[in-house]
Amino acid sequence: MNTTNNFLIAAFLITVVHIPASTNAQQVQKAENGVYLLTNATLHTITHGTYVGHILLRDGKIADISKNSITEASAKVIDCTNKHIYPGMIDSGSKLGLVEIDAVSVTNDFSELGDFIPHMKALTAVNPNAVAIPVTRVNGVTTVFVKPEGSIFSGTGAMIDLFGYTPEQMSCGSERLVMRFPSTGRRGRFDRRSEDDIKKDAEKSLKNINEIWESALSYARIDSAAKAENQKWITNNPQMEALKPVVYGTQPLFIEVNAKADIESALQWISEKKIKAVLMGVAEGWRVADKIVKAKIPVITGPVLSTPRRDNDRFDAPYSNAGKMAKAGIKVALRTDGAENTRNLPFNAAFAATYGMGKDEALKAITIYPAEIFGIADKYGSLDKGKTANLFVATGDPFEMKTKIEKLFIRGWDIPLESRQTLLNDEFLNRTPGIK
């Protein structure tokens, strides 16, 4: 009796599930994987010029790219005549996926407690299903360095592709230690410390960092001695463990620093400690560009669309900073330093381009330069054979407002150009019922 009932219920459920599926055509659009041949496009390769040609995507990679025609029987051919193909844009600093709603603190996962927390991993807290991720990628932004904020050693940020269902799937394999250099700037209008107090606080903070650094060096010495003698050394010190790649010099330290005097102190500190480094923020980089060039340190700056940091600065100081540094010879990558509006990366780059950086350099600042800075240029940042198939097809210049992104590939997956924001448009543009 029981079995029969269960069977009937099961049969009923199946029917119920099947009816709407077969009568309602509307379904969730999913990404598709396959072999794609994009033909007759203007290819903006970044590394080897711009030309009309063809590009073959297979197994998540650019299998071929050429001016001459490519034949591949198994490929789905997409005619891109009069269209432009660019490599996916890379944002070198954002909180995308680490925060869902800014003012709702329980959805904020970018700032852990404590001053010395280099072992915190942003990748752990990335929400692959954050609503802002599709909103971002439909503008051609495929890859983002998501980073923790706050404290002195804030943790590691991670470069992720904006497609995947787990953080590991999204990871590009580049996690980098992030540090906030002691600041002599004010934290906001509420910060009413005297100039002396500000200086003292910064000095105290730097002393603290130097003490941590001494410990890190000792830790590394013990660690390498233990390794040399093939001893198993068990210790519970995840902070010191996390600093090792920087202490050993296998990875650069990503240092957030903005005011002129602080950039100078940071450069001195880097040279004293003899470490590899990348400067982030660098709002006043234009004031000390010569010193940064001399130190041969690359820079990640942005947002470009921001207000001047001093009241006596020119109105366009944040617009022109990237261009001035680039012209001085610094390798400059750009970031939005945002979260939900990481989609504005191309427009930040465009403003930098307009105010002195030039289009080509601005494009490099969101493609090949970040790939180089984060050590993934063998896989990212340009349209080259063998690289990850992250690219988009556009009707024109992706910086221009009227341009539409018509196709998007991430790791060779054909990604639907859909987000909650486009779906709301689809539903409400001609709302039914309307007023009645």
Partner: protein, 460 residues
């Protein structure tokens, strides 16, 4: 100090002198009467006196060569908080009696930065802490003036700020434990205030008719509310969610108020047909969302959906940052929604003018209108454009060819250099919840730093 003083003097001397102008040979985008190539504009006594080809240069007129450049009406921001000393009188859910016009700051360098983005007029608004906040001031960006009165746009209609949703709820319900602590409470605060104003008016009417021996107690708050009910003050209401927008339209209908501009109105797209039927207008962000829960279900297509549904729509800044590139914000409606050039430019010119009740004077390039004009290097909706010259009432207030780095008028003599600010001023703290925001909206890190410094430096 001496150097700064010279700068101030040069601004005053160079800019305050009355100018008659001839803008030569530009691509003139009138907004209301189409685009005209190789066109001249004559500016006499602060007004546009002629728009025509090849106007011969009259004696005593300064000529501005606009060859190859784009000439548009000065951009109007229907929602801003620049040039204000204070923004929120967050002491009561109803503070109709206060007026931000009493707290104008003509020395705010943000005015100059707005001019450098082609913006000639902004609506300096009270904040959003209260259900019925203070009255607002429509200002002209006459940077260089030191008298606050010189910022006012004389003759512009009175406006007042209302606010729905999280901000009044958090300020009063959560903060002070008084109504409203829900959107239900917000509705009743309006009804209570308006009914009280009706009774107040009747008491005075009775007194004037001799039906009452003693005069009622004078209340500036009620006087202002009565003026709202009479339609003498335009309502601009901070709002986000569809339900609260519908609520306010119902309340206004019940009390016979017909003119309303919804501000922010992130979910306006959901009730666009209702907004159009009421005759309400909308002033929105191009793409801001997700900074708080009530803007989570937003879309950057909002402006275009509203426009397509016949709602008079503008794009505003509510920010010292966005106000510098409203032309770029307007252009986003071409990425998200395919608005035409004319439609997109209307969002920052004639439409905000309509919302402020000043469209007969500004918002388009027409003979007889105020000479508020912005000149751009490229098409103003192109991301590669650079504002060149901004003119307010025939006065050149920004000229990129004569643009000193330091344009401050307000200098702190105790500082060796102007302070460097580490964190950028974010949306709510420079906008609607200024003052209140620092307590309510700050991020974890700022909260932590504030705590730290308030502990270390409690003696201050």
């Amino acid at each position: 100090m001496k150097k700064y003083f010279c700068i101030i003097l040069s601004i005053c001397a160079g800019l305050l002198q009355a100018q008659n102008l001839l803008i030569k040979n530009g691509y003139v985008m009138t907004i209301t009467q189409g685009n005209k190539e190789n066109m001249d504009i004559l500016v006499t006594n602060g007004k546009i006196s002629l728009i025509q080809n090849n106007i011969p240069s009259p004696q005593g007129y300064t000529v501005i060569d606009a060859t190859g450049k784009y000439v548009i009406p000065g951009i109007i921001d229907a929602h801003s908080h620049i040039a204000l000393e204070v923004v929120n009188e967050a002491t009561n859910p109803v503070t109709a009696e206060v007026n931000v016009g009493d707290a104008l700051d003509p020395l705010d360098v943000a005015i100059y930065r707005a001019l450098a983005g082609g913006v000639t007029i902004s609506h300096a608004m009270h904040g959003s802490a209260n259900v019925i906040g203070g009255q607002c001031e429509t200002i002209k960006h006459r940077y260089g003036a030191v008298n606050p009165d010189e910022l006012r746009m004389q003759g512009a209609p009175r406006t007042i700020k209302f606010a729905l949703g999280e901000n009044p709820i958090r300020t009063h319900g959560e903060g002070n434990r008084i109504t409203p602590s829900t959107r239900m409470g917000v509705e009743q605060v309006f009804r209570d205030a308006f009914t009280g104003a009706q009774i107040y008016q009747k008491d005075w009417d009775d007194y004037k008719k001799g039906l009452r021996k003693t005069s009622p107690e004078y209340s500036l708050r009620n006087e202002t509310l009565v003026d709202i009910l009479k339609g003498n003050i335009l309502v601009h209401c901070h709002s986000y969610r569809a339900d609260e927008i519908l609520m306010l339209m119902k309340v206004l209908k019940d009390y016979g108020v017909s003119k309303i501009c919804f501000q922010h109105v992130n979910e306006g797209f959901k009730v666009a047909p209702e907004l159009a039927a009421f005759g309400a207008s909308a002033s929105v962000f191009a793409d801001w969302w997700a900074y708080k829960f009530e803007v989570y279900y937003s879309t950057a297509y909002n402006a275009s959906i509203l426009t397509r549904n016949g709602v008079v729509t503008s794009i505003n800044s509510d920010s010292e940052e966005l106000i510098r590139h409203l032309y770029h914000e307007a252009a986003k409606t071409q990425r998200y929604g395919d608005l035409s050039d004319d439609e997109a430019l209307a969002l920052i010119t004639i439409n905000p003018a309509k919302q402020l009740g000043i469209d007969h004077r500004v918002g388009s390039l027409e003979v007889g209108k105020d000479a508020d004009i912005a000149i751009f290097s490229e098409h103003p909706l192109s991301v590669y454009t650079i504002p060149q010259v901004t003119i307010v009432d025939g006065q050149v207030r920004f000229d990129i060819k004569n643009d000193p780095d330091d344009m401050r008028m307000d200098i702190n003599p105790t500082e060796k250099f102007s302070s460097f600010y580490e964190t950028e001023k974010d949306h709510e703290s420079s906008g609607c919840l200024k003052g209140v925001a620092e307590m309510l909206m700050e991020d974890n890190y700022t909260r932590y730093m504030r705590f730290k410094y308030s502990q270390n430096h409690s003696h201050e």
